[in-house]
Amino acid sequence: MFLLGIPLVNGTVVLFVPSLMATVGGRDGWMAPLLAPLSIVMLVALLGPLIRRWPDQSFIQVAQSTLGRWVGGLLGAVFSVWAFHTNAIILRQFGDFIKGTVLIRTPILIVQLLILLAVIWVARAGLEVLARCAAVLVPIDALFLMTIVVLGIRESRFQNLLPVLEHGITPVLRAALIPSAWVSELVCLAFLWPRLNQPRQGPAVLVSASIWTSLNLAVGSLIGIATFGPTVAKVTFSLFAVARVVSIAEFLERIEPLLMIVWVSDNFIKISVFHYVATESLRQSLGLRERKPLVIPGAALMLVLAAASLDSTVEMADWLMHVWPLYSPLVTFGIPIIALCAGLWRMASRGSRA
């Protein structure tokens, strides 16, 4: 019954992050996300057999049962470290955003601590509660976002989009790598498949979530480019900036608090999902019985990682553009692929023995 809410959400979550694409793709950057679901479709094609064969196990558990405790556990640990690391980066982005836009004089640590409190609470309450929260937040967020986009249309000049495909398709393809990396975070959802009430629907849910996400992303960057022209590459949070210039009837001067609310709640869900995945995969790879004792230390670890891993926003942008698109898919695709190969190999060898 529960959990069907999550996928959609996690989708919207990813949405705001990069106007980075514009740097690579220029004015055609908005097309890049439309290609991103391809990577998920590939992933689903890979994971589909796994879920059909082992509907009640995550791919880490599959890897463990096929490759043995140690190798499988190692893979799980790598995945878990990736999840923790990614989460720390998200937390860092989140803190930078809040500090940079609304709470300029508040220490970033306090900002992060507050949201982590919520995350810890929901992580201890369990996946079902998280799914329910998501079910409440998603429609609200979608409504707010639509408001912003619709109001933003007034400010945008669609001539900015012309000429389309000036430099051919190559920059678009290169730019598409970036959203692909983000969208591939959705692999976390694949991790949650076994907890769905109908695990077999997992692949379909994942694909639709990724398409939804990409559409959001495309619309978001479209409106950003249309409003600011090619300079959008210089605006770190483009949609936020769009919200900033909206002015309706001399009364609704600034609607960016709406966006901040969307951002905070989306990030809350996102960090929580990641935290869940990180602690749960750690639990599985260590073979522990309880997940709860990992929640608070994990959160503390993230807080430290978020502060220590990167020095500045500039460095982060650089990292996100150059390292991330390679690092993340390596883990998100690599581990399921290994699990799949191991699973197939095991199935094949068993088949030949039988």
């Binding site: 529960f2 079910a135 409440v136 905070v264």
Partner: protein, 518 residues
């Protein structure tokens, strides 16, 4: 442990006389009962002589029975009857008594119990059993419209303190043998009658087992109102939010029973408890269902928005003043800034002061006699408020915000939800004062997590929103026309999927048949 033991000795089951059998000699029984009821002048013992020369006695508590009927229907026929000994065996004391047959009581404990329950007990010389006759009487409040839940349209009946009357009010609305009533006792000394009411086949059996076991666990001295029970059976004792709906209207209880919930009625209390309940029920009024659906839906939306206003407005004011001037139009900023010029407090303190003052005024107003209530509100709100603004202690915008918030909270129809909102408002205010809009968002997330993890007797508290049963949204923020809502609300209920027939939408007969002829 000591307290537990103490409680134990006070309960009737442990009194030394509880298990004693009755004596055949009337005087021995009466003496024993006089000892038990020592210093209870409201126990009346009337002795009389039967025509056959035996002695008899009736015992009852003054004011609980109808004395005229006792004389006319019991004592007079007994005393005047032809000299034929009453026959105990068939439960008929004597032929010709115009009273329903009484129950036989063999032990002292039962006799004492019956007397206290407001029943007349008849003892006769030479008999080892007493007999109980229900001749209820005494004073009771009339059925009136409940003051706290008025409605313009719809029934005007309200529950009273008498349990049997309340049950009969329900039975008058729902005429099916599937309306079940399970009776029980709570409170060792008050021995309060409570009744668990539900419609068999609609309520989920698991829920019933759960509530039975929760009610069975209660061990206290006294139950004076259903509120006592509520605290023992709710799921989340530390929550700000009410998890059980209380109402004084039989029609509300009936409506919820028909949606598969159960009700708990408690003798001595006009408040019935309803569960499992969802958050939204506290924002829905009975009248939504009696008025036409358009205005009901609009009013519901109004109520939901004002509930939000009532939680968030002071917090938003504080965060805008203290953190985000840029969010409101420049002209407005100037006006507010001018008004706040010279106010010695930061916005948080100002808002907190005013909110506390408002709560104090409200509390003072509730218990005052109607004659001086208005005086307090005039002195409090108008004179002090005006003077405080003039003196520059608080700003006029703060007063406006606080009074708007106050009005907004009165829009919420249920007092339980109003109280939750009142407490929540202060939490929001503190977070807004510390972290601005971000604080409000985080606080809202906290509240959301809390609400999402709550259940009322197994049913998710935020259902049907969080359970994604979209058709049930038809009766959530709006009230869809009745002829659309065919499907049964399944949060609490078992039973078939449909609750009404097809094609109920008013219109031409040809449309209803589905074969349109143009």
């Amino acid at each position: 442990m000591v307290m537990n033991k103490d409680l134990h000795t006070l309960s009737m089951a442990n009194e030394p006389w509880n298990g004693e059998p009755l004596d055949t000699v009337l005087q021995a029984n009466l003496t024993r009962l006089r000892e038990v009821f020592d210093a209870c002048p409201d126990l009346i013992i009337r002795e009389f002589l039967l025509p056959d020369g035996r002695r008899g006695g009736v015992l009852y508590v003054n004011g609980l029975i109808d004395v005229d009927r006792l004389d006319r229907d019991l004592l007079h026929p007994l005393v005047a009857a032809p000299p034929r000994p009453p026959q105990w065996e068939h439960g008929m004391p004597a032929p010709g008594l115009p009273l329903p047959g009484g129950q036989l009581l063999g032990r002292m404990g039962e006799v004492v119990q019956k007397i206290l329950d407001g029943v007349v007990v008849l003892l006769l010389d030479g008999e080892t059993a007493a007999q109980a006759f229900g001749i209820p009487g005494g004073k009771a409040r009339n059925i009136t419209e409940p003051v706290t839940e008025r409605s313009l349209r719809g029934p005007k009946e309200g529950f009273v303190e008498d349990l049997q009357t309340n049950l009969s009010l329900l039975r008058r609305i729902i005429k099916t043998p599937r309306l079940k009533v399970e009776e029980g006792l709570a409170g060792r000394l008050t021995r309060t009658n409570i009744a668990l009411v539900y419609i068999q086949g609609l309520v989920r059996p698991g829920v019933l087992d759960e509530v039975r076991s929760r009610l069975g666990r209660i061990q206290i001295d006294g139950v004076l109102d259903s509120g006592y029970l509520e605290e023992f059976i709710e799921d989340h004792p530390y929550s700000l939010f009410p998890q059980i709906l209380d109402t004084q209207r039989p029609d509300v209880v009936a409506a919820h029973l028909l949606e598969g919930r159960f009700a708990i009625l408690c003798a001595g209390s006009p408040n019935a408890l309803l569960a499992p309940i969802q958050l939204w029920s506290f924002l829905q009024s009975v009248e939504d269902y009696y008025e036409r659906y358009l205005i009901s839906s609009l009013l519901r939306i109004l109520r939901f928005s004002f509930a939000a206003v009532s939680v968030l407005l002071p917090a938003l004011y504080v965060s805008v003043i203290a953190f985000h001037h840029e969010l409101i139009p420049t002209a407005l900023v100037m006006t507010v800034a001018r008004a706040r010029e010279g106010v010695p407090f930061p916005a948080v303190v100002e808002a907190l002061l005013m909110e506390v003052a408002f709560e104090a005024l409200r509390e003072a107003g509730i218990r005052l006699p109607a004659s001086i209530g208005p005086t307090v509100s005039i002195v409090g709100a108008l004179i002090i408020g005006e003077a405080a603004v003039r003196a520059g202690i608080v700003s006029a915008p703060a007063v406006i915000i606080v009074s708007t918030t106050g009005i907004a909270s009165f829009v919420i129809p249920r007092i339980g939800a109003v109280n939750a909102v009142r407490m929540l408002r202060f939490l929001m205010l503190l977070f807004a004062g510390a972290f601005g809009l971000y604080g409000i968002t985080i606080m809202s997330l906290f509240v959301l997590i809390h609400l999402a993890s709550m259940r009322s007797f197994g049913a998710p508290y935020l259902s049907p929103w969080t359970t994604l049963r979209l058709w049930e949204w038809l009766d959530l923020f709006i009230r869809a026309p009745r002829w659309i809502e065919r499907r049964r609300i399944t949060v609490a209920a078992a039973g078939g999927p449909l609750r009404q027939g097809p094609h109920l939408k008013p219109g031409r007969a040809s449309d209803r048949d589905g074969n349109k002829q143009d």
